[in-house]
Symmetry: C2
Subunit: 236 residues, 2 copies
Amino acid sequence: MSTDRSAVILLSGGLDSATCLAIARNEGFACHCLTIDYNQRHRAELDAARHLAEAMDAASHTVFPLDLRAFGGSALTSDMPVPKDRDEHEMLDEIPSTYVPARNLVFLSIALARAETLAARDIFVGVNAIDYSGYPDCRPEFVRSFEQTANLATRLGVEGATIRIHTPLIDMTKAQIIRTGSDLGVDFAMTLSCYDPDDHGRACARCDACLLRARGFAQAGIADPTRYQHAAPRLA
Amino acid sequence: MSTDRSAVILLSGGLDSATCLAIARNEGFACHCLTIDYNQRHRAELDAARHLAEAMDAASHTVFPLDLRAFGGSALTSDMPVPKDRDEHEMLDEIPSTYVPARNLVFLSIALARAETLAARDIFVGVNAIDYSGYPDCRPEFVRSFEQTANLATRLGVEGATIRIHTPLIDMTKAQIIRTGSDLGVDFAMTLSCYDPDDHGRACARCDACLLRARGFAQAGIADPTRYQHAAPRLA
């Protein structure tokens, strides 16, 4: 689809951001993908993002280094263990240790800087308030507040443009995200959601992200194409 | 002064942030300084920040790398020329090319991530709405909006703490900042404000920052300790 509207898409390499990219493309945006390399414990996520951007005809793909290890404080950026085998109740009970301090705020701010250099007014982010209600920075009230701040922070906003933060997945269940992505042609075999993959990018089947993802495929009635290190997750 | 209240101080190495650090220290905070290394064209600014943090008894000093050159779009992070010899009217007329896209938003977001790992609720930033009215992200309405977003974005905010963004300089003239810093014992000879210093950290005397700074010392009636490459600025 031809367009002169550019958007910045935060692309992690996971199932959600891949679906978000597909939605933005389907809405006619020229998609400038932005992957934040925050020294995840595994590089497989970055590889997944690169392959997805290429396969989905992104207008550009920038990998932006951001060394959050300097601060510690999260199982995803330090040596704290990734929690495993938790049930849904445990996942929702508290803010998980995989929470990265102020992550979405930092990521959206960098996406906004990227948008300004492109004169783009649209940013897509695959946050989801249902499956991850434990993360404060996935809530709609956070996103709306950030949007207001973004319009006050930037040259674009001052000059009268309206910057919009698109969160098309925010009210979807994992199963709905998977059905939407599937309808839009996302190849989920290219995506990686696991917090603790092996060196070959194969999923652990036991972390929160693996369990939510596997349950989503089951509920969507779509075969799970995930490559696991051993067996697929055992769903309750 | 002994305290158990920690604050994060954004410290650039310039006159404003040095005064901001002095104010936070004077209010009794244990000051954790954060310098964002966004690949400024000159490293002298980072050296100034290091020396200031040490001289002013900071509780810690973190230099956080953030390669904004990946996006371009500013004279401070690309090969665009730094504007020189502009009068006050020209400075205020438009958003200057030294504006870095979404800079204060990105910097404050990273400061908030640092604060969360310290369980600190206070962030000090030396933004100033009077001398730099050309920058959208130095305005009080931006700072208040960011503060709201910060309280929605973080574990601290969700758990009921109130995160506060302190901008003690926001309504001060440059002369007032210099008088305040001077009263609190800031050694301004250690600070560097110039956008285009030489390799020895000596100021150009012609960029907006040099001109505003020199005028500030003149108006404060305090001798300008700045090391210039050639002559001091000629003030109108």
